[in-house]
Assembly symmetry: D2
């Protein structure tokens, strides 16, 4: 009787997976701008002239806002240089209010994770990081609790910053946090159940590069203790929401939401436990989509390709 | 090449299914009361003395409210009389604030459906009724639109009542509705997207026997045009909620909720279309659970066995 | 207390929805071919030169098969003629083994539905058709049962063909079916739980334009009575699969699959009932995706944009 | 701007949660036997006479097999002794082929986990164990790989057994495994993606106390490399199945199944990655249900209350 096939060799399970063949010399282009005819032709014509071959692409035109969104995964041949493409791009594609970026798929983005005593999202992200599932470099873990209290062996040699909360010192603490974030060259901040007050200014500085997990199916149960709110209301499903952080609490652009059924027999403690599973899954998917250049901001909303 | 097995004989597909063998002479007992030790023993002892055999049962003790809930499906042997059981029951089982009911599983409850121009829930319920999927007798369809406007051939010979809305005449109209409901011996009223104002008094009179479908995942997007609210907020899932009607708008005890994923490409019209599928599924399940004696009221919540 | 917003006017709920504004003068281009660099640029360049504006598009490159797939929704301006575009297209875009099609979004495809005694999928498709949810023209309903037996009032004035199965006459019956299908100008055949033997030749003739619903989560429980198989095996979920019909039974390219949880308490009859809901939902989605030009064949598989 | 409520105190997040108040002095009774009238009355009467108060209970009568199943959570008052109840039980409740057990809810069952190089299920179970989510004592981790290769810091001081596979030595290795399992007083063996051949005899010895996770939605894709099979077939969902191990490969009684949608763009590697999430979730739920006395064997099937 066999369970599954032959076992893989005894190499460390934490060794980074070699990047799959199909993404060697591969790049992601993301672009948003005011819509006008001919955009896709201009972009893909430029790619073609530089020897690019498209692997996967999506385009979307928001008729409400008049904004156009595009994501292209493409490969460049051996001799072709991405720097030439990047230099030529703005001359060949011109549209109003255009944001664009070309990024090598092999590039790992620099991520700082903020966590509090609820450590399940932190533990989950670090496990996925260690097995090579997330295309990122964790440049630091920051918490208002000491490292021993978090008790996550997977932190290993990742720089750990303990910034305890002191009454009346929020501004000073946030200034130190921002310095740590910037000094580490952080490209994405992940609030992995970081249960602390952030000022509007701090949130604004991180706009579009800070993802939070809210432990409810927004817009239901905003604010504190959402699982207890859900229990009191007697809903039959609970959920979690990953969104970009904005100055407006629980109102940032939503990336992903998921739910699970519950029953009358679930106590608030059981909702909290079930919620942990949803939260860590939703947060990991949102971070992964961000690292995969799948999310484009569209005002208060997101386009997720 | 065959698709599926041999076809069933050419009898009308609308013929009522013969009630399955396992529920012949079967009964459902539902009971809620203040919790005290020995309740299950007292109830099941009484059933056993009357020759009852339990097919399926659930019990739940809400430690918050101190209320106990029980549902028992049981069979009685050939000679045994359910009337004896019903007569003896209150003498052998006594608890504070006890509500109980014993109902033959073969009994079809009398249901009145209220509908407006959005007819998908009405059409769905009537289809399920016609194929024998719902253990009910539809005693009437009531609408503020004329029958021709609803345009549902499945209404057939079911009594149809057209009560147009006239400004300033709500009290009079509701009095007529209530008379129709009562005259038909209605045991359950279903608001199948009946988009009209109901007074608090009307709602209160139907407490525990009137199910509504709300086209959002409550408590998110209460009130009007929830799909447009969802579109504006940029959520990534939409849902529907079936609940008992109370005087408190969109706050009645929730029976069932379901959701489906949506994307940035879904227009409000597409949300409305996708929502129709969720609504009719959720409403049918809630009505079915009610007819199946699976739902017990627990204050502002429900116990769904 | 209001349930939902103000009711819509008393126009017939079955009136066809006016086609939404965003798809006026809109077209869908679908294309598959052997992959080569520059394809997207060539296609979108051609569209741009003919005044096309892209609303939504997807591209996918299957690295295994070396095939490239593309779907573009685009609008043409007032003066622009789609006939010019269609004439120029093959000259400006050339690739090996290319299949392409440009279709007006307002065009309703001609659909023939085949049904047996299990009429839930037929009833569901016709309801969706009547409320304007499916962009199709039902040109006929064909059954081995007489119309009275099917008992679906929604058939209304749609041509109904009764072709009873006679032993040893399959070839003759299939020839008659094919003639009816072709005479009606049928573009898509839907097997809405049509539980009859089809010959390999018949299936081959309809390749890529005949959708079947199989009442299991393939590849589990192929063949007859899948719900009874599921019950006997004690699985905890049941499902349905919509796929294109091929000569190879239950092996055609899969379009959509969905499942629902079940429990030990579900009898085979209850599985059949729950399955009806899944089947009709899955079949409707698959047909809708086909009508929406979202599905491209990729050998034994599908690309669903 | 606050995310969530106030943070919890800086105690170690790995400290075991104090067992919630509602389960103090609480017990679980599970029972299966041939059905006969009066069983529930006899059982609950016995509980009542011993001062038991029922918190939650379910009963189910399988009309096919004629077997009756029951699970009761109950509390005993201060003075009441569970030993008296256990002693009296067989005298007051007698039925044919009866299996029954009364277990303190606070009792942690002894669990041995077997793992191979795919360590995600092991890592997940250990995390849940460390945060007090699983009511178990992990008495050992056993692998055919050395501890360094598994590289799971959470193993900590749990006894680790490395039993490398040597060709032609399976019998000897299994004998050593069984001795380790028995010596540790193991009550449940969990195959957390343990990808090795087990003999029929070994499987038979662990019947009803060994849970495996199969990385497909059984009965689809039995055997090796199910994600590659799924990719080749072009299915639109993948899943995982937790089941009790029997001598019959991939045919043991199913406990839980779950699925997730996939698309044409998912490579086999991506299916493997997505599958890891489903596998660890499904396995954890199955183990949790087992520890919670929710699963009763019913021949080749399970009853899951």
């Amino acid at each position: 009787m066999a369970y599954g096939g032959p076992s893989s060799p005894t190499a460390s399970a934490f060794a980074r997976e070699p990047y799959p063949a199909r993404t060697r010399h591969a790049y992601a282009l993301t672009l948003s701008c005011d819509d006008e005819p001919g955009l896709v032709a201009a972009v893909t014509g430029t790619l073609a002239r530089h020897g690019g071959n498209i692997l996967e692409a999506q385009q979307f035109d928001d008729l409400d806002s008049g904004r156009f969104f595009m994501r292209v995964l493409f490969e460049l041949g051996q001799g072709a240089g991405v720097q030439d493409l990047i230099r030529d791009f703005p001359q060949t594609v011109a549209a109003r209010h255009m944001h664009w970026r070309i990024r090598a798929r092999s590039e790992r983005r620099r991520v700082m994770i903020l966590a509090s005593a609820q450590n399940h999202c932190l533990a989950d992200l670090l496990y996925r990081y260690r097995v090579g599932e997330m295309n990122m470099e964790v440049v630091g873990v920051l918490s208002n609790h000491p490292r021993d209290a978090l008790d996550i062996p997977l932190i290993g040699d990742i720089p750990f910053h303990h910034l305890p909360i002191e009454p009346g010192q929020r501004d000073r603490q946030e200034a130190r946090m921002m310095r740590l974030i910037e000094d580490a060259g952080t490209e994405l901040v992940v609030l992995a159940r970081y249960m602390q007050i952030l000022s509007d200014g701090f949130a604004a500085q991180l706009e579009g590069r800070c993802i939070n997990i809210h432990h409810s199916f927004l817009p239901g149960f905003k604010g504190a203790r959402p699982y207890h709110q859900a229990y009191d209301r007697g809903v039959k499903m609970i959920g979690a929401t990953a969104h970009y952080v904005t100055a407006d609490l629980d109102e940032g652009p939503i990336i992903i939401q998921e739910v699970e059924p519950i029953s009358h027999a679930d106590t608030p403690d059981e909702l909290v436990r079930k919620g942990r599973d949803i939260e860590r899954r939703v947060l990991a998917r949102a971070v992964r989509h961000h690292l995969d250049d799948r999310i484009l901001l569209n005002g208060r909303k997101t386009v997720v390709f």
